[in-house]
């Protein structure tokens, strides 16, 4: 048996497939590439690459430090192609920063108040929880891509026409 090489792709090197229509409109498939989206966006712009009713998956370029975020529900992040550190603070008063009935992440000005929960350092393919009730911040020594499971909200960018196959 031969040796296999797993093809991961990265913000610096990705190939795109695509939709070959037989009898359909390629736009219906909302086809994009998360690495291209991240590469062509500003750092930590959380651009939706998938959406299903209120739910979204966001792709973002991780580069240097992000601001702080929180949400009224769990979110999850995957480091797709490089090292990303995530710092967590247990919010002293989460409801003051985000409506508990709301959905999607919100940006917090400055470091929020609360206990230091610790941090994780993710390598390629690692997934971390962004737990409800906490705030989190990303930092990346080198440019890479993060994928976030969340809900459409204040910080979510919609650039479908720019990135999706027509």
């Amino acid at each position: 048996m031969g040796q296999y090489t797993t093809d991961f792709g990265s913000i610096h090197s990705y190939k795109k497939g695509g939709v070959t229509a037989i009898d359909d409109d390629p736009k219906r498939y909302v086809f994009s590439n998360m690495f291209e989206v991240a590469a062509k966006s500003a750092p930590y712009e959380r651009v939706a690459v998938a959406k299903n009713f209120e739910y979204v998956i966001e792709s973002a370029k991780a580069e240097g430090e992000s601001g702080w975020y929180t949400a009224a529900h769990d979110e999850f992040v995957i480091a797709m192609d490089g090292k990303v550190r995530v710092d967590f603070v247990k919010l002293a008063d989460p409801d003051a920063l985000v409506d508990p009935e709301s959905e999607g992440a919100v940006h917090i000005e400055g470091k929020p108040e609360g206990a230091n929960m610790g941090y994780v350092v993710l390598g390629r393919g690692h997934m971390a929880m962004l737990p409800v009730g906490s705030a989190y911040k990303f930092s990346a020594p080198e440019t890479c891509t993060i994928l976030i499971q969340s809900i459409d909200g204040a910080v979510t960018q919609h650039k479908w026409a720019q990135f999706c196959q027509k």
């Binding site: 190939k15 497939g17 695509g18 359909d24 998360m34 809900i151």
Partner: protein, 347 residues
């Protein structure tokens, strides 16, 4: 993707029944055939039997023949997925449509030629009753050495008369994280020690674990795991398992090799995020079966399956695919009533 068990019990809400069919009973499991050694099965007017090469589905409108490997691989998914979301087309003729508590089983209902000629046949069953028959069927019809979950290069062949079983393989419990894999008390990560060696096609996938520095008291919240390593150790193909949950948003990554054993007919939009390598999807119309598109996905590609199609994937090298589902039970009926669109995003 696995439905939650509660779906079988029925929900408080009314179960959709677009065809207005009554519930069919009349289940039977018949003794093993003297020659082939296989049991035969009956659910309503549907009769099932197999021989050395084929599985047969008989209804009052005719007999449909499928190669045993194709039938068993599809049956295995239908069982493991709990009838999944929407329609599981075993092939272009036979399949099931899930209404979450009740199931329509059909011959030709998603095939233009059958429906146009009025030759389609459908009956409706309580999901748990039909599941019971399906589970006994996949158990009886699977021989020793054959694993209908495995890729062709990793298993034997299903042909021949009854010869032992592989109940260990066909009764695998599907994996459903409640919040995230690796959290204390949630679905554990996979290791050599708990019986999940790295697949030969993922030998180059780094098995490192994230650095987790949780302050005391936050060990249940500050948590991470190596998803790619987890997927590299999957012992099954085309079997999404829930790894992280945001309300009804379910990340269901899976490892894929060879061909998706069913044509999955969506009852809502479903997203594919290609994590590694490459998959090609053949997309056909959900109602008629006419080819609509061919989609090639490489690592990093994101693509939506609209609610009105069916799809079947091909993966030459084992690959990691993130299947993303919106598990809300309300969506299919919204789409059927035209209150929600077939497509996820209009731009």
């Amino acid at each position: 993707m696995a439905m939650k068990e509660s779906a079988f019990a029925g929900t408080d809400e009314e179960i959709s029944n677009p065809r207005g069919l009554p519930i069919t009973g009349n289940f039977a499991i018949n003794p093993a055939d003297n020659i082939t050694g296989y049991k035969s099965f009956q659910a309503g007017s549907f009769k099932f039997h197999r021989d050395e090469y084929f599985c047969y589905v008989t209804t009052p409108t005719g007999v449909h023949t499928m190669p045993a490997d194709a039938f068993l691989r599809a049956l295995m998914r239908d069982v493991a997925w709990g009838f999944f979301y929407g329609t599981v087309n075993f092939d272009q003729v036979f399949g099931t449509t899930n209404y979450y508590g009740e199931v329509d089983m059909f011959m030709g209902a998603t095939n233009e030629a059958y429906t146009a000629a009025g030759r389609d046949f459908v009956e409706r069953f309580k999901a748990d009753k039909l599941m019971d028959v399906f589970k006994q069927m996949v158990s009886d019809w699977t021989n020793e050495g054959y694993d209908p979950f495995a890729a062709p290069m990793e298993t034997g062949v299903p042909w021949g008369i009854k010869n032992g079983d592989n109940d260990e393989a066909v009764s695998r419990e599907r994996v459903t994280a409640r919040r995230m894999v690796g959290l204390p008390g949630d679905t554990p990560v996979r290791t050599d020690a708990n019986g999940y060696p790295v697949n030969r096609m993922f030998a180059d996938v780094v098995q490192d674990q994230p650095e987790v520095h949780a302050e005391p008291g936050f060990e249940h919240e500050v948590s991470a795991y190596n998803l790619f390593a987890y997927l590299s150790r999957s012992d099954v193909t085309w079997n999404p398992s829930v790894c992280s949950v945001v309300k009804d948003s379910l990340f269901c990554p899976t490892s894929e090799e060879y061909i998706l054993p069913v044509e999955h007919g969506n009852d809502r939009c479903e997203w594919f995020i290609q994590l590694t390598d490459e998959i090609t999807w053949n997309v056909k119309d959900g109602a008629t079966g006419r080819p609509r598109a061919i989609i090639n996905m490489k690592a990093g590609d994101c693509c939506c399956m609209p609610a009105d199609i069916r799809h079947q994937g091909f993966s030459a090298k084992r690959s990691m695919l993130l299947v993303w589902e919106n598990g809300s039970p309300k969506i299919p009926e919204l789409i059927r009533q035209g209150l929600a669109p077939d497509v996820a995003v209009e731009f």
